[in-house]
Symmetry: C2
């Protein structure tokens, strides 16, 4: 990699949504003085008060139209289902040349929901920092969250190179490895690496929740055998994930279909005592773990 690039500076940043990701980015901006003013927008005053208390906001408002006034960078960090009304509300007061970006886990829907509302003088650079924890809210964030993780940008071919470079520099400065791909490809890759795992974790924890009382009580106690890893994933933000599944429906249903086929085959192998088939699969899956470790993503 080349030497560390000059830190990107944005005189005025508007953060719309200040949960785990938004507040972690705010902490990076603060720590390194990348913004003179951070204006924060959230739906609830309780969240805004918390953001001020944490010194993450110089000004706050519940109004998306107001928060983007004079902003050089607008970063959407709400659940993706809220993007369209926000885009509609903020559009009239976006500054000429302003960059609008986001951190959502789905990218085709961003282009679909946000682009039609933006004036031509504004640059949309959809982004996805692939980082997170199972905790939510402004107090859950930390500046180091992004370090060593990938960030995926999915700008349209006609997008200003300069705008893309500035968003790339921002995430690189936060410690991320930035990749570019088209939104459709992003949504397919994330469907299998992130959306399907979450869907399955939510399901199995739900299945356990519905067990007869005498079994359910024990599930928690003996969770160390594998289940607890699923409970961690299934503790992620409910509204964020609801919106992910509804906005990446095609790719999620496609991957879910493949998964279900494979699960049915495995079920059959167990029922019919096909020992070799089981051992073969369990041996093959070990390889992928090695890949994850080699890629430093373990």
């Amino acid at each position: 990699m080349a030497g560390k690039p000059r830190p990107p500076r944005f005189p005025r940043v508007a953060l719309i949504g200040i949960g785990l990701i938004g507040s972690s980015l705010a902490r990076v901006l603060r720590r390194d003085g990348l913004a003179d003013h951070i204006a924060v927008c959230a739906r609830s005053h309780a969240t805004l008060d918390k953001a001020r208390e944490l010194r993450l906001a110089d000004s706050t408002t519940t109004d998306p139209r107001q928060v983007v006034e004079d902003a050089d960078l607008v970063m959407l960090s709400t659940p993706v289902g809220a993007y369209e009304p926000i885009a509609q509300a903020m559009a009239p007061s976006l500054k000429r040349g302003c960059i609008v970006s986001d951190v959502g886990s789905v990218k085709m829907s961003v282009i679909r929901d946000v682009t039609p509302h933006l004036p031509k003088s504004v640059h949309l650079v959809p982004g996805h920092p692939v980082a997170g924890t199972e905790h939510s809210g402004p107090e859950a964030g930390f500046a180091e969250l992004f370090e060593g993780r990938f960030c995926i940008l999915t700008p349209e071919p006609e997008t200003s190179e300069t705008a893309v470079k500035r968003i790339r520099a921002l995430w690189e400065h936060a410690g991320m490895m930035v990749e570019q791909m088209d939104a459709e490809h992003h949504d397919k890759v994330l469907a299998i690496t992130s959306h399907l795992p979450h869907l399955i974790a939510y399901t199995i924890v739900g299945t356990a929740t519905d067990l007869e009382d005498h079994l359910r009580r024990e599930v928690v106690r003996f969770s160390a055998g594998g289940f607890r890893d699923f409970t961690r994933i299934a503790a992620s933000d409910p509204v964020m994930w609801r919106d992910v599944f509804l906005n990446n429906k095609d790719a999620v249903l496609e991957m879910l279909g493949r998964f279900t086929e494979d699960l049915t085959a495995l079920q059959r192998a167990i029922r019919w005592d096909e020992a070799e088939k089981l051992e073969d699969l369990f041996t093959r899956t070990r390889e992928i773990r090695r890949g994850v470790i080699d890629a430093n993503q373990a």
Copy 2:
């Protein structure tokens, strides 16, 4: 909890199988001088050499009949599918009053496969330390593996109380919280807390392995979004897990049936944009995580 009980002592211990769990137990025995002699049996000389090199074995053999000679405690730590031939082989040379125990993840099959071969003068105390990592082999073990985790014993009602107490004391000494229940109940609880999570993790990692090349390469890079937790689980020992599924077939298929129903319902909710249904489930599953954290099993 009452004060620390006197450490249990076994003049001669035979360990049959010296992988992650067996070698971790050997390290506890060594560290605290709980055995005068540790005799180790494994199928391969390479494994036995490794066990000697790690100073976990005072004597070694590939012969189960030989290893149990004069042993006060015989601990089976092989994949559960190997128990029956081992029981058959070792039975004739078991000492009167000897305790036979195990560490397998399935308990009904132990009673089914081992009991018929044992002389009446020997005590069978099936056990399951619910602890582990995704690593295998004698070098993967460590004495602290058991600390703060649950161990489940499933002795039959007619089993000698003294024998059960000694096995309980052994695992308590290793730092475990020991519970007793019947084998059938154990196998149901573990089917949902451990076996089904492993089955699902193996499946989804397998599904990813079968993707088109251009997608598969990216899966590893962007695994931080949830997938990597599954790769860790799906890196567990293939033979051990093959045997678990084949020997807890009924409970695994029953839980798998419930899971599949729930997954199908969720799939339908996504297809039909049932936002509220999704959010409700994702909110309910958060509760279980809190339970896991409260139980100190996170």
